[in-house]
Symmetry: C2
Subunit: 330 residues, 2 copies
Amino acid sequence: MRMLINVPETVVADALRGIAAAHPDLTVDVENRVIIRRDAPVAGQVALVSGGGSGHEPLHGGFVGPGMLSAACPGEVFTSPVPDQMARAAAAVDSGAGVLFVVKNYTGDVLNFDMAAELAEDEGIQVAKVLVNDDVAVTDSLYTAGRRGTGATLFVEKIAGAAAAEGQPLERVEAVGRQVNENSRSFGVALSAVTTPAKGTPTFDLPSGELELGIGIHGEPGRERRAMMTSGEIADFAVHAILEDMPPRNPVLVLVNGMGATPLLELYGFNAEVQRVLGDRGVTVARTLVGNYVTSLDMAGASVTLCQVDEELLRLWDAPVKTPALRWGM
Amino acid sequence: MRMLINVPETVVADALRGIAAAHPDLTVDVENRVIIRRDAPVAGQVALVSGGGSGHEPLHGGFVGPGMLSAACPGEVFTSPVPDQMARAAAAVDSGAGVLFVVKNYTGDVLNFDMAAELAEDEGIQVAKVLVNDDVAVTDSLYTAGRRGTGATLFVEKIAGAAAAEGQPLERVEAVGRQVNENSRSFGVALSAVTTPAKGTPTFDLPSGELELGIGIHGEPGRERRAMMTSGEIADFAVHAILEDMPPRNPVLVLVNGMGATPLLELYGFNAEVQRVLGDRGVTVARTLVGNYVTSLDMAGASVTLCQVDEELLRLWDAPVKTPALRWGM
């Protein structure tokens, strides 16, 4: 245990108090675990609500603000939030234009967001959903039926959020979100296991000198375990796995994402290798983002997400955004 | 070794290639190891140049851009850059209004920036320097005579950078930088040791279940080693150590900084405790920043920096900035 915490039981509540103190633009309901942009509901705009287990910060709370999410609902660490949280968030942010739920494809999240949609609809709120399932590494896993939702969540939340900020109607914002997901693919690797506060020991055994190819964001198993590879070899493996599944015809957005404990120095070096492979394969890069965005607590490792964009999606990606973790143009 | 690298020898060059690919607003000279804002020199503006050993990213390269640094010079990991780098950077960014060197107080950096200043002055460039020495934990260390420069570097670079962006003259930008440093104090803790690529094993031995109070950003020893403490106890210790040295009369900027491998979930929880202690001590908080900004590769832990600000310094802190790691208002 090398954790900067009080006790495992209060980790999420403590973090919410810390988010509230740092970000006066957000309203944080610590008791009910909902993070809301302070100016919600925004008249005439569709509201975006997301959420999921804690431990992936800045996802989702760090993406709440103008141009992205209207609200986020954090669950316990690696555990889905409950339907009441999302329903409460939907009620708080709905302006009458409807609410889009952005849901990562994990069994618990899917079930709970479905129930939340029913609860919200019972209150007269119009709800649509986008399911994010971008991870090409495995189908079905410890937490998932079908493909897992990982790095593409950032692209869906940013781009659909921009469409909502322009006043586009719910069916259009939903369509944009689906388009982003359908055009996104991810692949991740772990160089170390992850330790949750409640367990206090690594959730799986990854001997020093080995890596797990195709890891999920909860440390669930990937495709295979190998002896340590170089940054260049990992980039080759990850990018080829993605391109095999989705050979892009259009330029791509690139997310080189740290899992939490890999230094930024190494992430930038890895980005150089990812760009080399993309260049060799003739893929045009429109924008690149490097950093820790969709993390797995203290796991060392990284993931690559590519999102194929047309002019409209690129325009929405570039649109102003003002959140704790992603901010430009305002 | 759980590093996402090719070989230790190319870690810095690889990262520079990755920075170049991700940030088209920056010009990266990989061979000479200089990162420059693309629109430099900016007519009528003092230029800020900083640098230091690599391994503290996003410091300093991530702080290059309008409203902050004009250029950054990364050395090898935990090793000062050489005078030629800073002199080259100064020549590239000087508009004729002069250059301010922002130097963290480590023996090698101080010496090399002094030599760089002489080289630049020989070329007719007017140079001033601000030494950052904010760490209250220890005086003199493995790398330092006097106090170490740590988290306050971010405040000095942002606030002096804003003064420069307004067209303030060199002596005034220098004075602002000195004022920020004099009004800043930091204290850091390590929950794990740091591993450099070249060494491949932890640089010191920190048994699981212990922490080092007053750690430096290279893993150099702090004040004392203790059995693991709670987040609240660590906040008490760190904030009291700072306030003992500088009882602020004015509001403060708060930086709750991760050392690299501590999850953002924990940093926000730690921030809640830091804010609690400040509240108990009657200190008014003007702004809070939480994240990994002045890191120590894969070290787990955090540091607290307080910067006491008057209205003018707060105005400069809030001024627009556009860099990879710190961005608002543009």
